[in-house]
Amino acid sequence: MSDHLIDEDRTLGRVEAVEVQAANWILAKQMSDAWSDTDQSALNAWLSESTSHVAAYWRLEDTWARTRRLKALHQPFVEPSSRPIWQKRSKSIGAAAVFAIGVVVTGSLWNGYTHRDVKTYSTPIGGHLGLSLTDGSKIELNTDTKLSFLTSAGQRSANLLKGEALFDIKHNASVPFVLFVGKHQVTDLGTKFLVRSENGKVKVSLLEGKARFDLRQSDADAQSTDLTPGDVVVATADSMSVSRKSDKQLMNQLGWRRGLLIFENTTLADAASELNRYNIEKIIIRDPAVAKLTIGGKFFENDVSALLNTAQQVFGLSVSRRGNEILISR
């Protein structure tokens, strides 16, 4: 028994032969994803052949159960305590300000034997949450965002359910980080990237490093694109376009990290819809001519009144409120 490598040519001892069989049964059963009643019947039949089989099986079964303690060694991808490293409180008026800005929900899935921890992080409107992962990666969630992690299974993966997040991923060639967004996936090849998911549209901006974007039209048909810094992919369920942005444009997209929205030749409609992401109050523009006006400058994301002032003072537009709706019109 001291020779733990199975040498096919060596004749196994009487008991050793039984133990090899017992171990095979245990491994088959414990590692199988689809242990059927038929399998179980076959095992039962083998066990009922002799007490020798039973003795070896029970002993190894106990051994296997003890090795399950090793699960405790699992270093979750995200800190187990999963305290956000920091979080910012929204200054926007309304209920959002009352909530803690980052919400963590944990749960578990059982997938065969694999215990997977699912941790979900979410931010309300106006929220901003920083996460520091055990592997050194950092993730920031922007307003109204939901991101869940699947740990274990030797994978680093997350699922952006909605909203926008910036990923600064420590590269590990053997365990790539995979982000799922809808049906699409982004695989990091050592990367800093920004992902935004909104109304079925996914936008991925690569800031540093390399990443691969897979557009999933169907399970069989995936279209893969390697991204280099400055590339911005916009994908819908079945189409994808890649454009390049300047460093400045990319940085402007990250204004939210400092609580800023940076506009440059931005239409009033776009500016309003950006602000609306961060605030309970929603700006509404119905007039197409008003919508097309363009503005520039920095706005605090939680300061709706600054944009309204611009509209009134620069463009001479009128502003009227009804509940949480703010209408800008001529």
């Binding site: 028994m1 001291s2 733990h4 490598l5 199975i6 001892g13 009487r14 008991v15 050793e16 039984v18 133990e19 090899v20 171990a23 095979n24 245990i26 491994l27 059963k29 414990q30 590692m31 994803d33 242990w35 009643d37 179980q40 039962n44 002799s50 007490t51 020798s52 039973v54 003795a55 070896a56 029970w58 002993r59 190894l60 079964e61 106990d62 051994t63 296997w64 159960a65 003890r66 090795t67 399950r68 303690r69 090793l70 699960k71 405790a72 060694l73 699992h74 059982w110 997938n111 065969g112 034997y113 694999t114 215990h115 997977r116 274990s152 299974a153 030797g154 053997s174």
Partner: protein, 198 residues
């Protein structure tokens, strides 16, 4: 059955394929009370056996006898029951092999069978157990160890382990098989106090 707090597969299986309650009782008793005696039992056999059959085989035969007897009736006190079964087995073997003087097997009292002292608390046991399993793993072939760790810690399937180690699934099966069997020897035969194997 360990880890009952977790919805593990075994409990689910027991529901699906109920063992007879008697057999389940014997199994639970065997794991709870007999297996912890393995270190002492191995020492006992080593000290009292000069025959040809190897000690691991004899140990297995003791288990077979003990399980068969327990199916008829669970003993009041496990340790004496197991050691008497071991002694009887030795006596039978001595007769068969006609080599060892009889008195060699007559010092049952000399055995230091651990008394049922109150144990440490659950958490300490769990930590100690984890350390033991880890220490035991270090004695395995590196590939057996890696395969077991990948499965238990990372949740890898056999196929994933094969891909990661760059070997076939069959070979992974061998490493796992050998690993789990050697682990059984190390874990069960090391004295519970965390001393050395054998």
């Amino acid at each position: 059955m360990p880890d009952i707090s977790e919805p593990d597969r075994e409990t689910a299986d027991t529901r699906r394929h109920p063992m007879t309650s008697r057999e389940e009782e014997v199994r639970a008793w065997f794991i709870r009370e007999v297996l912890p005696l393995e270190a002492a039992l191995t020492r006992f056999l080593q000290n009292n056996w000069r025959g040809q059959a190897n000690v691991a085989d004899m140990l297995h035969d003791v288990y077979v006898r003990v399980i068969d007897a327990a199916r008829r009736e669970l003993p009041e006190a496990t340790a004496p029951f197991v050691f008497i079964a071991a002694r009887n087995l030795l006596i039978d073997r001595v007769r068969q092999e006609k080599i060892v003087p009889f008195e060699a097997v007559d010092n049952l009292e000399a055995l230091n069978v651990a008394a049922d002292a109150p144990g440490p608390d659950e958490q300490t046991i769990a930590r100690e157990e984890l350390r033991r399993v880890q220490a035991a793993l270090d004695k395995l072939h590196p590939r057996s160890r890696d395969a077991l760790l990948m499965h238990h810690v990372e949740g890898f399937s056999r196929r994933q382990i094969a891909a990661r180690l760059g070997i076939t699934e069959n070979t992974v099966g061998w490493y796992l098989n050998a690993g789990i069997r050697l682990l059984a020897d190390i874990l069960h035969r090391a004295p519970p106090t965390g001393g050395r194997r054998r």
